[in-house]
């Protein structure tokens, strides 16, 4: 199996989908000739031509609005938003149109698109190139939300997202675009949506993480292990609908929960995860569930490593929770 980084794996998924399904088109700013500012769409323009790999004008609202129209027609647009920080001009089309089309038309008009966009900090981007906006989409009924952490999952989840009948937000953790490497099968395969992965088994405390922070959680778990605390680390992979079964099974075993995410804490996805667990496994909890997250401030530039919930912030919480 070839070794790939995440950029290559996502590129491979796009090419694979476009080869097997003529309805799939790629569109966004700079996705064509130059292959995307992160080079995720490199080579697609040459292989599939400018009718299926489309450099658009600078308008996220226009990109998503026209993509929704293409989807109503029957294409499957895979849209790139250059940074998730720039997705907000398209939020109206996503919330009011894309997410509600099937429902409001009594099933007559499903609108299937995939929106790919890099998320998160750690590349010195300040608050306009580092946002991690999953909560604003998970709250919207009708959308699915995915966030892979490694090349294998990224390809398999993107192919699953493209094949899925519902609109999917596909968040790509850019901090590990090139850092995360691994074996990636050739050709088509899928990693099913709604399936989390237990990436490190443990019995003292359950840690939920995704995207780039998964590696921080794993690092903290390794260090905790040296101190006798065995953390079970779960990579959520699909954020919504989340794999509630795997989560509850784990927490019921460990009795303790730590949730990690980069986005600001307040009304972040961590609140939902904590609530789901507290509602459903209250009598199994032996300590208060805890969140280790970004702060309720815009994402800073120079101090980004202090902002992000890295291993050095996860570890003490993990130990405290396990010992509480």
């Amino acid at each position: 199996m070839p070794q790939m980084n995440m950029v290559q794996a996502i590129n491979d998924a796009l090419a694979t989908a476009m080869r097997s399904d003529e309805r799939v088109v790629v569109m966004g700013e700079d996705v064509g000739k130059v292959g995307g500012v992160f080079r995720v769409t490199a080579g697609l323009f040459d292989e599939f031509g400018d009718e299926r790999v489309i450099d658009t004008p600078l308008s996220e609202n226009g990109i998503v609005g026209t993509a929704v129209g293409m989807a109503l027609y029957g294409l499957v647009p895979v849209v790139e938003i250059q940074f998730s920080d720039f997705i907000w001009p398209a939020y109206d089309q996503i919330v009011n149109e894309l997410a509600k089309f099937r429902y409001r038309s009594g099933g007559e008009y499903p609108a299937k698109i995939v929106i790919r966009t890099p998320v998160g900090g750690g590349i010195r981007g300040g608050h306009y190139h580092s946002q991690h906006p999953e909560a604003a989409f998970i709250h919207v009924a009708g959308l699915k939300v995915v966030c892979p952490s490694n090349p294998h999952d990224a390809k398999g989840l993107l192919l699953a997202s493209i094949a899925d009948p519902d609109p999917v937000l596909f968040f790509e953790p850019k901090r590990v675009y090139r850092a995360a490497k691994g074996e990636v099968p050739q050709g088509a395969y899928t990693v099913p949506l709604e399936s989390a992965a237990i990436v490190r088994p443990g019995r003292h405390v359950t840690v939920l993480a995704y995207g780039a922070m998964l590696y921080e959680a794993l690092d903290a778990a390794a260090k905790a292990s040296a101190k006798g605390v065995e953390a079970e680390v779960i990579d959520l992979r699909t954020l919504w609908p989340v794999d509630i079964g795997t989560i509850l099974e784990s927490v019921k075993r460990t009795g303790r929960l730590v949730v990690v995410h980069e986005a600001p804490k307040t009304c972040g996805f961590g609140a939902e995860l904590m609530s789901l667990v507290t509602e459903r496994a209250f009598y199994h909890l032996e300590a208060p569930p805890v969140r280790v997250t970004g702060f309720d401030t815009p994402f800073p530039y120079t101090l980004e490593m202090e902002y992000m919930p890295l291993s050095h912030r996860i570890l003490p919480t993990l130990l405290d929770t396990a010992r509480a």
């Binding site: 609005g65 026209t66 009011n96 099937r102 409001r104 007559e108 009924a141």
Partner: protein, 375 residues
């Protein structure tokens, strides 16, 4: 530097406005769409039907039998003429004021009326307000309330067809107010760049609720907004059925030839309130209607037909009686239909309900019903 000169948007059509049906009831050959007598009659009947239904629906709303209606009084020629000019395989992206066009395209009256009642037979399952129906069968896209959102979508749809080399165009309806929306800007811009076969049909009815068109934009006309996007703009007398059919046909042909989109400004007037929720007397003097009353789009065609001995009072009475009869039946049926079943609330959010919706559905079905009746 040129200074843009202002002209009152609501004033009766000026020189650069395309007209066909003259005051003398002759058709100007330059833009005559060449409709057969049968076609004119058919369109006339649809216009009258639309107006009658409008009146009846407002009546039902006043009686509290339906919750809302947004009508098209005075805009019938713009709405029906434009839809008529499109081909069967073309797709329409409506605003919310064009039910007459949907019925003409083949939406069944009963389906429309069920939607007005949001009942179990409403094809959108009582999920949207009245007048927010859908009819894929006739190329009519699901209606949305947010102003302008259909514009980019209509462009994307035709773009999709273009990529797949299908001979298909779209027509997008929107109002003067919608020209201020982000979707107008993006839709026009994308359509211009990619030469998409979309007809942008702007019903300039003078008002966006209480805001007059001159407060919406400082451009002299709405048609000239096309220049910003390399899209030709045309102004047409929106109360002249023949002229509307003609300019839309030409725009459609242009799109089909691969020459790209056209922006049409149909100059008309909203003779009623914005919707049943609105009282226009709060912001509009009734004299404002006067210049438009004499230009009533239905009256003009009726005069034309009468001149050619193709219509008379008896025919009109017969038509009205027939439509009223059909409408009454549809209302009776709709009022006898129960509200949608509780479980429909949880369907169609996703293709298949995920665990959390299945759970919420089960919980809701097991719990007590809300007090009071629905529908």
């Amino acid at each position: 530097m040129t200074t843009a000169t202002r002209q009152r948007h609501e004033s009766p059509p000026a020189d650069d406005v395309i007209r066909v049906l003259g005051d003398d009831l002759t058709l100007d050959p330059v833009y005559d769409p060449g409709l057969s007598p049968q076609e004119v009659l058919e369109l006339y009947r649809h216009m009258v039907t639309t107006r009658l239904l409008d009146e009846r629906l407002v009546g039902l709303q006043r009686q509290g039998r339906i919750g809302f209606h947004v009508g098209s009084l005075g805009e019938e020629a713009a709405i029906l003429g434009s839809a008529y000019a499109m081909r069967k395989g073309d797709w329409l992206f409506p605003c919310y004021r064009e039910f007459g066009a949907a019925l003409m395209r083949g939406l069944e009256l009963s389906v429309f009326v069920h939607n007005m009642f949001g009942n179990a037979k409403d094809t959108v399952r009582g999920r949207q307000m009245p007048d927010h129906y859908t009819c894929r069968r006739v190329g009519w896209v699901s209606i949305s309330s947010p102003v302008g959102t259909q514009i980019t979508q209509g462009v994307g749809f035709a773009w999709g067809a273009k990529i797949r080399k299908q001979d298909l165009a779209t027509l997008v309806y929107f109002g003067d107010g919608a020209t201020s929306s982000s979707d107008f800007h993006s839709g026009m811009n994308f359509a211009g760049v990619f030469k998409i076969p979309t007809v942008f049909f702007c019903r300039n009815n003078g008002w966006a609720i209480s805001v007059p068109t001159q407060r919406q934009t400082a451009s002299r006309t709405l048609a000239e907004k096309g220049a910003a996007y390399g899209v030709p703009g045309v102004r047409v007398d929106g109360n002249d059925l023949f002229a509307v059919v003609s300019v839309v046909k030409r725009a459609l042909e242009r799109g089909v030839r691969g020459e790209g989109p056209t922006l049409i400004e149909a100059i008309t007037y909203r003779m009623g309130g914005h919707s049943t929720s609105d009282d226009p007397n709060r912001y509009r003097a009734s004299e404002a209607l006067e210049p438009w009353t004499s230009r009533d789009p239905i009256g003009r065609v009726r005069a034309y037909l009468e001149k050619h001995n193709q219509w008379d009072g008896t025919a009109e009475e017969r038509l009205i009686a027939e439509v009223d009869q059909r409408f009454r039946e549809a209302v009776t049926s709709a009022e006898r239909t129960p509200p949608p079943a509780l479980e429909t609330m949880f369907e169609d959010v996703y293709a298949r309900p995920p665990w959390h919706l299945a759970e919420q559905r089960a919980e809701r079905l097991a719990g007590p019903r809300a007090p009071g009746a629905h529908g």
